[in-house]
Amino acid sequence: MTQLIWLTIAFPIAGVLFNGLLGRRLGHRVVSVVGPLMVLASFVVGVGAFADLLARHGEAVNVPLWTWAAIGSFEVNLSLLVDPLSVLMVLVVTGVGFLIHVYATEYMVHKDESGHAHPDRDFARFFTFLNLFIASMLVLVLGNNYLMMYVGWELVGVCSYLLIGFWYDRPSEEQAPIDLGEGAEPVKLPPLLSPAASGMKAFIVNRVGDVGFALGVFLIWTTFGTLQFADVFSQVPHMAEAMPAVLSWIALLLFIGAMGKSAQIPLYVWLPDAMAGPTPVSALIHAATMVTAGVYMIVRSNVIYSHAPGVSMFVAVIGAVTALFAATIALVQVDLKRVLAYSTVSQLGYMFMAVGVGAYTAGMFHLTTHAFFKALLFLGAGSVMHALHDVIDIRRMGGLKNKMPVTWLTFWIGGLALAGFPLMSGFFSKDEILAKAFEASPVLWGIGVLTAGLTAFYTFRAIFIAFHGQPRDRHLYDHAHESGPAIRFALVVLAALALVGGVLGLPAFLGLPHALDSWLAPIYATGEHAAAAGEHGLSLGLELGLMATSATVAVLGIVVAYFFYVVNPAIPRRMARSLRPVFVLLANKYYVDELYNAVFVQPGLKLARGMAQGVDALLIDSVLVDGLARLVGQIGRQVSRLQTGYLRHYALATFIGVLILVGYFFLR
């Protein structure tokens, strides 16, 4: 199957063409079959490539496609790289992608009271875009050079733009203020951007990051004379001695791209607004796959990063700060999807902390488990929305566990995994990151543990409010119902993965092999860089101690959430009242959107208007260009007055002329 790996891209492209050209005419049933089927076919090819690779012991194979450009020393041969890292990504993208496609076949159809199915107006367009995304993401992870990575990078960005703005005609929404009880003034919330505005914001913020990525690619070509991974990486050790600063610049510029795509400070602002898209999109693109592209990029470029220690530490710090920062915002969100969105930003921060300290395997491990449990949580949130006629405000939920047992149970599993509850998948991957972070710097570890506690708390805050207690909106509750088989299928499979995903990377002291680490070993620079996750410098006692700490913190977070939102709901309100400034700050997301708007967007628009009206229309066109034309016209008119038509004037002029000439000859 290795040589046929291009089929993983070709199948979804076929789906794009089929559903895009014929989907409208053939109806939603045909689209519902073709869309997921194409992704399943990709997955099967991916599994085949995986089996081949296993038999080859991880040896990378290039599958050449065609020469894209050859201009002098700039030569790009498009080629697909089948190696442990790309195959892992292919399996995650197509596997989770397939489940989400299946889920969407039900989610994008609304049933009315009498059981009639009403597919979304643009059902075919939705699956067209979704298939296009899968193809784009596979270009990103399968390309064997930085150009293809950039191409995929931009393509997933445009799919994200199109899908966030999928319901392009919906307006922006007001959010009800948060009532703090006891006569305290309610806390106002900023309105939510419309889908169209959110999509545009996502694309433009991402493009800011892409400037860094593009410049990084240019610098790679200028430095190494090639964009092919293997050729670049083989020159890195030599270059690290000759020009270490250039390597750091490359690492930094690439990371700027990752900040955009993977929503890290300061470019994370687009991801929460991306929740305006349909929930399957949030699960697939904005949780499981696309947003992890930055992590993939750094792991792919691990040879460069391990030779740029300063930039790597910067990556780790940005990751840690983002993890904590986003987690604090998630504490007070009332929109279930936005809780999960900030959680995604935070967990991506975790992954960057991992790759920043050189724990590339741990980063990929968390990327994988996160894809399972976060996709599960988003799909669970979507299942709730589906049942509640698109209501996503947790203040209108409550007691849903009785109405939606499957959604509730699977959401719990996802929540436990996210919280890092012992033996869940998230526990192992998070723990590995924390252990590695501790080795690099106890401060990073401290931030990580604190974040873990907050994560457990806000996750279960949402769960307890939404699924437990008494219904807050009786009407919604009465009409709520468990979702149908397609949604339940996706939830159950992902829940199983979230439960057992940890086996990919069991801690070393158990004496079992760390599957992921031995799998990924071939992609790491050999020699100076020790990549093995199992072998770290921590003693067994310390490792167990760290593990116990993070487990305790996770459980503690859950317990506190239980007390706050089940046992005595008055406590959080009282706290919010007494810490009102902090609460308002968090509810307004630290006013970062307002800040960016005031510092970048509005001045940019003002500058544009100033240029258009002041410089272009007035200065250049009216004053300079038309002014010059007027001047010429004026001179012409003035000069033409000499031509009076009276013979005596001409005679006089001739006479004066003769006088001057004669005078000149006399006086010379």
Binding site: W66, T67, W68, A69, A70, I71, G72, S73, F74, L147, Y150, V151, G152, E154, L155, V158, Y161, L162, G165, Y168, D169, P171, S194, A196, A197, M200, F203, I204, R207, V208, D210, V211, A214, L215, V217, F218, L219, W221, T222, G604, L605, L607, A608, R609, M611, A612, Q613, V615, D616, I620, D621, L624, V625, A629
Partner: protein
């Protein structure tokens, strides 16, 4: 036949004009179809240029005939890697432009179509002439039909725009004529290949002659700050006029730089490069910002041309074959993408007689097919990978980065602004709540679809397989870059 291929391309439109003269003016459809079939035949006749092109063999399909023997001025035609795709672009876009005017032009169809065909001959003449005076003749000749198209079939301020267009560009060309005469006096011939081989001008003279040529070309490009004739002309021009203006006429400027200014005066290139690169970069940022502030779709697209043409100039003066090759390809790309954007705006204008964003909004619901093609055109213009614009922009910036990373960094920032203004246009036209004033809007008809599909197919062919184009372009730009670099080394 092959040895007269280029002459055939120049003559076929004139035959079309002769046919139009014979057809009674009441038979508007016959007139339209005659014009379209003429342009279509010309496009088909031009295709062998690509398929029979020998990569790297210098001038091809050459024709040579004495024209004014006493003055050693000749009818000398030929194409190479610089002009090949511009010829094809011209024949293709001429057919597109004629087809796009079937329903938009209802008055004086006969004169309109005749002018379109005359314009095609003039533009092709510019790209295939290898004699300086022949080139100048076609260069100036192309102004007249375009000025008449704007002045007769344009919008409200058409006379102002038309006069501005013709005076501005003619004033720009005046110095070029002087410089051409100086060149002729030195070389004793106006034959370009001969001049390139024999001419040995002192450096100071090269610097001034380069300036005179470059000024004419910079007005045409248009390079900031010589661009203000362009928005005026675009806003007033009929749709087909805008397609040709943005698609082909502007390329005459960048083509002229590469065909004449740089190879004839290589010693002047390092002198003028800093200024031209600076203006190009300013144009990229400035054009994008001004585009962002526009409230009418057509003006936005017009200013986007200022930004996009800035990329091309940047590539031409990047000093390497990467930037130059990509600049040539980007001329084609810009012609296709911007041509399509003008076409799409025209489809709306024909029905609603408004180009203001505020008169639209949410119309994707009403015109789903139009919406898809508009988004595709915008994304192509934004430079989305997989489509044409990306290839040009990315390789231009990559080539520029190697010699001037500051200019490349500013240019790369331009892609953020490009996304900003083009997605703003998409959002204001297609997204948001449906504006009921557009309830009468119809989706694209078969004729419009044929145009849109043919353009989009080319977007993807260029975007996915750019080597099909680079393989013919690169030998020519290699030679050009080589010529400049050896001269610079020699002068040092």
């Amino acid at each position: 036949m092959s040895q007269f291929l280029l002459s055939a391309l120049l003559i076929i439109p004139l035959i079309g004009v002769a046919l139009l003269v014979l057809i009674p003016r009441e038979n508007k459809d016959v007139l339209r179809w005659t014009a379209f079939i003429t342009t279509l035949v010309n496009f088909l006749v031009s295709l062998p240029l690509y398929f029979n092109f020998q990569s790297g063999a210098g001038y091809q399909f050459e024709e040579f005939a004495a024209w004014i023997p006493a003055l050693n001025i000749n009818y000398h035609l030929g194409v190479d890697g610089l002009s090949l795709f511009l010829v094809l672009l011209t024949t293709f876009l001429s057919a597109v432009a004629v087809l796009s005017s079937f329903s938009a032009i209802t008055e004086q169809v006969k004169e309109y179509m005749a002018l379109m065909l005359l314009l095609e001959t003039a533009m092709l003449g510019v790209f295939v002439s290898l004699d300086l005076f022949l080139f100048y003749l076609f260069w100036e000749a192309s102004l007249i039909p375009m000025a008449l198209l704007i002045g007769r079939w344009g919008g409200e301020r058409r006379i102002y725009a038309s006069v501005k267009f013709i005076i501005y560009t003619m004033a720009g060309s005046a110095l070029m004529l002087v410089a051409a005469l100086v060149l002729y006096a030195w070389g004793g011939t106006s034959d370009l290949p001969v001049l390139l081989q024999t001419l040995d001008l002192p450096a100071w003279l090269q610097v001034w002659l380069f300036f005179a040529f470059a000024l004419a070309f910079a007005v045409k490009v248009p390079l900031f700050p010589l661009h203000t004739w362009l928005p005026a002309a675009h806003v007033e021009a009929p749709t087909a006029g805008s397609i040709i203006l943005a698609g082909v006429l502007l390329k005459m400027g960048t083509y002229g730089l590469m065909r004449f200014a740089i190879p004839l005066f290589p010693a002047a290139v390092p002198v003028w490069t800093p200024l031209l690169v600076t203006l190009a970069v300013i144009g990229i940022i400035y054009g994008a910002l001004v585009a962002l502030a526009q409230d009418a779709a057509k003006k936005l697209v017009a200013y986007s041309s200022v930004a996009h043409m800035g990329f091309i100039v940047l590539g031409i003066f990047s000093g390497g074959p990467q930037g130059m090759s990509a600049a040539v390809l980007q001329m084609v790309n810009h012609g296709l993408s911007t041509g399509m954007l003008f076409f799409m705006v025209g489809v709306l204008y024909e029905q609603r007689h408004s180009r203001l964003f505020s008169d639209y909004g949410g119309i994707w619901v009403k015109v789903p097919v139009f919406g898809v093609f508009f988004i595709l055109a915008a994304l192509s213009s934004v430079g989305l990978p997989g489509m044409n614009g990306f290839v040009g922009e990315f390789v231009i910036l990559l080539g520029t980065f190697k010699v001037n990373w500051v200019a490349a960094a500013f240019g790369t920032f331009g892609i953020v602004l490009a996304a900003w203004y083009l997605l703003t246009a998409v959002r204001k036209l297609l997204f948001g709540p449906f504006n009921p004033a557009n309830s009468g809007l119809r989706d694209m008809n078969g004729r419009e679809l044929a145009i849109a599909v043919s353009l989009v197919v080319l977007f993807f062919v260029i975007g996915l397989f750019p080597q099909l184009f680079f393989k013919h372009i690169t030998p020519a730009t290699d030679a050009l870059a080589e010529r400049v670099n050896t001269t610079i080394l020699a002068w040092r």
